[in-house]
């Protein structure tokens, strides 16, 4: 009765697929049905979350292709919640034709995320990556009338397919040398003997694919265009849900599957393995992301480069490795995703009112909408890592874990670099806040009025960023408890 089990254990995914198809057909049948479509999509996401909660705590299907564990279920819920907020805030996007298709693609992308999160088997992970990736390529290029959107879509697709090719190639090496695609089995095969150079090549190629997904330098070149050119909900989804799932899976692959090939990234004690590779990616991302962000005048582009830098910070946890390192990475990436969904929500409103998302369009936002200004302040200051916001605790946790790893504070160089990066980043986040709170705008008597649902969604996101900063234990405890 394994197929009955499949229906039972993959119920969240099935619900989402059914919802996606329904939304798609409604959207095809009647144009301009945004309200109904997004209502259905949101409901589908909620039902899927409920289904995740109904799953048994532990289950295994097809030799690890679908793994149900408290950790996986928790991050499925995180992905669903991020998609939910994306859908709610997507409502403001009036200019798109074919709302049904757009929402259906978001839902399909979410299915990909759930598969990604819920698997401990290389092939299934690759399928999840591709399902998410393909949905996101189309979403990015969705605004056909806009050349920026088309350009962003093409760049994202070309880079993305290249990276996928690398990943698949790398995975084939790993499979070829270990004879298995299940993460646990790979680890036990690897710990049996020394790591072969060919396997190292496979690992590096796999990592390249993930570095693309998380927009780590030097594989970040698509990010700026995708964040700026894509329809805003698509950009928010790329920056949040996709990122959380990618970090989650990357963490599982390197820590569970490739654990024996850890190596060391300590300053005086570099040992070959994946951790020096990740450390190099992190260092480069922090430097490149922060320095490039300094020069941006467009808020979405700025957020893209800051995302590169944040990917660098988040990698610190994986470099440190271990349960603590993984939980620090997961905590940080979750916080980051919540913050970015909210920030893109604010950007969406500003764009709807002013027609642009340059810094000058944010000028005087405080007078036009104190709520949006306040929320944006919370999001930006959390990204900058200032207390009492969640980003501060996230950084403290990440950096302390990184410094704790290995003897003699070996990762001090990386932590110092990350702190320097934070210092630089404070400047450009303050520039955004300066535009919002100090600069005068020439738009007068023109108030931004998000509807009630969106106001509550934004307030909820901002409040959770604040609360998770004051009571980080609420999330941390959950992550630590589910990490065995």
């Amino acid at each position: 009765m394994i197929y009955l089990d499949l229906v039972r254990l993959a119920l969240p995914e099935i619900i989402l697929v059914v919802t996606a198809l329904t939304v798609l057909s409604i959207g095809l049948a009647r144009k301009r049905m945004l309200g109904i479509c997004s209502g259905m999509a949101a409901a589908g996401l909620l039902f899927a979350s409920a289904a995740v909660l109904q799953l048994p705590p532990h289950a295994l299907l097809f030799h690890g292709m679908i793994v149900i564990s408290p950790l996986n279920s928790f991050f499925k819920i995180v992905c669903l919640a991020l998609a939910f907020f994306t859908v709610i805030l997507a409502q403001s996007k009036r200019s798109l034709p074919n709302d049904g298709e757009f929402l259906a693609l978001i839902l399909l992308g979410t299915v990909g995320l759930l598969l990604l999160v819920g698997s401990e088997e290389l092939l299934m992970i690759f399928i999840g990556l591709e399902l998410t990736g393909l949905s996101l390529y189309v979403l990015t290029a969705f605004n056909k009338a806009d050349t920026h959107s088309a350009e962003a879509g093409l760049k994202y697709f070309l880079f993305g397919s290249m990276a996928s090719a690398f990943t698949l190639f790398g995975l084939s090496y790993i499979y070829g040398l270990t004879g298995t695609t299940a993460l646990g089995a790979i680890a036990s095969k690897m710990s049996a003997g020394p790591v072969q150079p060919l396997l190292m090549a496979g690992i590096v190629m796999t990592l390249i694919g993930f570095a693309f997904k998380i927009a780590a330098a030097p594989f970040h070149l698509w990010a700026a265009d995708a964040y700026q050119g894509a329809p805003i909900p698509a950009a928010a989804f790329i920056a949040s849900g996709s990122k959380v799932a990618s970090f989650f899976v990357l963490g599982k692959i390197v820590l569970v599957g490739l654990g024996p090939a850890h190596g060391s990234a300590g300053w005086h004690a570099m040992v070959g393995g994946w951790s020096p590779v990740l450390a190099a990616l992190a260092a480069l991302s922090i430097v490149v992301g922060n320095l490039t962000a300094l020069a941006q005048r467009n808020v979405r582009r700025l957020l893209a480069y800051s995302a590169v830098a944040h990917a660098g910070y988040t990698l610190l946890g994986l470099v440190a490795a271990g349960r603590e390192g993984f939980s620090a990475t997961l905590f940080y990436t979750t916080i980051y995703a919540i913050t970015l969904v909210g920030a893109f929500g604010v950007v969406a409103f500003v764009r709807r009112e002013t027609g642009g998302d340059d810094l000058s369009d944010f000028a005087g936002l405080r007078n036009r909408s104190p709520l949006l200004a306040g929320c944006m302040a919370i999001f930006m200051l959390s990204l900058a890592g200032l207390p009492p916001l969640a980003g501060f605790f996230g950084k403290f946790y990440l950096f302390s874990v990184a410094l704790h790893a290995g003897p003699n504070h070996g990762l001090l160089w990386l932590v110092a670099l990350a702190l320097l990066g934070s210092l630089i980043s404070l400047y450009y986040y303050l520039i955004i806040l300066k535009a919002i709170f100090l600069d005068e705008s020439n738009m007068t008597g023109f108030a931004l009025r998000p509807d009630f649902l969106q106001r509550s969604a934004l307030t909820l996101l901002a409040a959770s960023v604040l609360l998770l900063g004051v009571v980080p234990d609420a999330l941390l405890q959950r992550i630590l408890a589910t990490l065995s």
Binding site: P387, F396, H409, K434, L438, L476
Partner: protein, 489 residues
């Protein structure tokens, strides 16, 4: 009970943001006044244990990482809480007439105050750092929105300097945390760190704190920031924020890493003395009244650092006394400069010298004379008591430094007198390009308000009280300093 200063300030900040604008300043006043009252009561409490860092609250916060919400107080923290309360109250009194966006103004102001109370009372390193960093952003907005003279530049410079200092502190804190495995300050103060670790962690941590205390050559944020800030902002910066750095250096850097302190103390003294002399010399050449006071702040904070570098009972007690004293005097000087600027719309000493402010604003002139005397270190005021204690302490450790400091003290007197004379008592009417017709100066339309008089009187009283009877403070500071482990026998 002293913990309520934090909660009240944060609650007041939230209230003043969301209530109608007419309420904002009253809420701020009530919050600041009650905070001051609480700190006074706690300071003069008879049964209090000033010698030990006595726990007030201890609640688990993030048990997985060993973080606790742990507040404690000893004589040093209570002294700092007292000066915070006083400065906060006077800052509110002197910003009674803020018309533009008062809700936000008092929100940020009270956030600075609440964060500062938190820093002085924290006994958990993470909590300490949360409060320490909490103060950074409010300063940016206070200066950038309500400031003057190159405000956006000054605000950004100050914020980035503070954050840079914060980053260094962060590294030092992480080094201590990952080595000792605890964040609890009293426990860390017992932990024996290896001298290898102390040799690099101490200077990093100390420098991070000292940036906020205005150590030369990383002091440049201070004059620029003070000048750009609104009156209340300058008062908070001089009165409280610079003390956060000095307090952190004492409570965390020196107390955690005594061996590192021994290795680096002479370099601390060198930088402190250069700061004292250099800042005083620069102040002598400034024409903006607030720049004069800003550099004088750097010079006075140099004394604090010198006292800390001496690392003996007299030096450190004097440094804490100087923190109190400079908090009061600096706040008073900036308040008066703000009063003058508000009426005359200039702070240029050459312009002021044509106005004969001594006659039109007798009260301000009087208060400024008192503040200048205190700042110069005339006996009878707190500045004298503090600086003489520091010099006595420093004499034992670094006799040569004291000699150089003497030059600085002369320069302090010189620039203070110069500013005082030019601003209030010069009669340069006939040198002014604008012909002055009347012989009698016209009084300003905007008289000195009661709030301003009250604030100035409070600060004058404080500097006199501490100057005439320094034992009032020293009796509470010294036992706490004696309990510090870095103290040389």
């Amino acid at each position: 009970m002293i913990a309520w200063t934090i909660y009240l300030a944060l609650a007041g900040a939230t209230l003043s943001l969301f209530l109608p604008r007419a309420f904002a300043r009253w809420i701020a006043l009530a919050t600041a006044a009650s905070g001051f009252a609480i700190s006074v009561v706690a300071f003069f409490a008879r049964q209090a244990d000033f010698a030990h860092f006595t726990t007030i609250v201890h609640v688990p916060w993030v048990p997985a990482l060993g973080m606790n919400y742990h507040l404690a107080a000893d004589g040093i923290s209570l002294t700092m809480a007292l000066v915070t309360g006083l400065t906060a109250l006077c800052a509110v009194l002197f910003s009674w007439k803020v018309e533009s966006r008062p809700n936000e103004f008092f929100f940020w102001l009270l956030l600075v105050v609440g964060g500062s109370y938190g820093v002085f009372l924290s006994a958990d390193l993470f909590l300490f750092f949360v409060f320490y960093e909490l103060v950074i952003v409010p300063k940016y907005f206070l200066i950038a929105i309500w400031g003057s003279t190159n405000k956006e530049y000054g605000a950004m410079q100050l914020t980035l300097y503070s954050f840079f200092g914060g980053a260094l502190v962060f590294i030092g804190i992480l080094a201590a945390y990952t080595t000792a495995g605890t964040l609890d300050l009293p426990q860390l103060a017992q932990f024996q760190f290896t001298s290898q670790l102390q040799a690099w962690a101490f200077p990093v941590l100390f420098l991070g704190f000292a940036i906020l205390a205005g150590i030369w050559p990383l002091h440049t944020w201070a004059p620029t920031g003070h000048v750009a800030a609104p009156t209340a902002g300058s008062m908070l910066l001089a009165g409280i924020v610079m003390k956060l750095g000095a307090y952190g250096a004492l409570r965390v850097a020196m107390n955690l890493f005594p061996l590192g302190l021994q290795m680096w103390s002479k370099w601390m003294a060198v930088l402190a003395v250069i700061g004292i002399v250099y800042a005083a010399a620069v102040a002598l050449r400034q024409n903006d009244l607030k720049f004069v006071i800003g550099y004088s702040s750097v010079s006075h904070m140099g004394f604090v650092l010198l006292g800390l570098a001496a690392a003996n009972l007299l030096g450190v007690s004097g440094a804490v006394l100087q923190m109190f004293s400079h908090g009061v005097i600096g706040a008073l000087l900036f308040a008066l400069a703000g009063v003058v600027y508000h009426r005359t719309h200039t702070r240029d000493l050459n312009d002021l010298s044509t106005m004969r402010l001594g006659r039109t604003m007798p009260f301000v002139a009087f208060a400024f004379v008192v503040a200048s005397a205190a700042s110069m270190g005339i006996p009878g005021f707190s500045g004298f008591a503090a600086e003489i204690t520091i010099l006595l302490g420093a004499w034992k450790a670094f006799p040569l430094a004291v000699a150089f400091t003497g030059i600085g003290m002369v320069l302090v007197a010189a620039f203070t007198l110069r500013a005082l004379k030019k601003a209030f008592f010069a009669d340069d009417r006939f040198r002014s390009p604008v012909a002055v017709v009347s012989n009698e100066p016209v009084p300003f339309a905007d008289p000195i308000t009661f709030a301003e008089k009250l604030g100035a009187s409070l600060l004058i009283f404080a500097t006199l009280a501490a100057g005439l009877y320094p034992r009032l403070l020293l009796d509470r500071i010294e036992p706490a300093v004696e309990a510090m482990r870095f103290l040389k026998p």
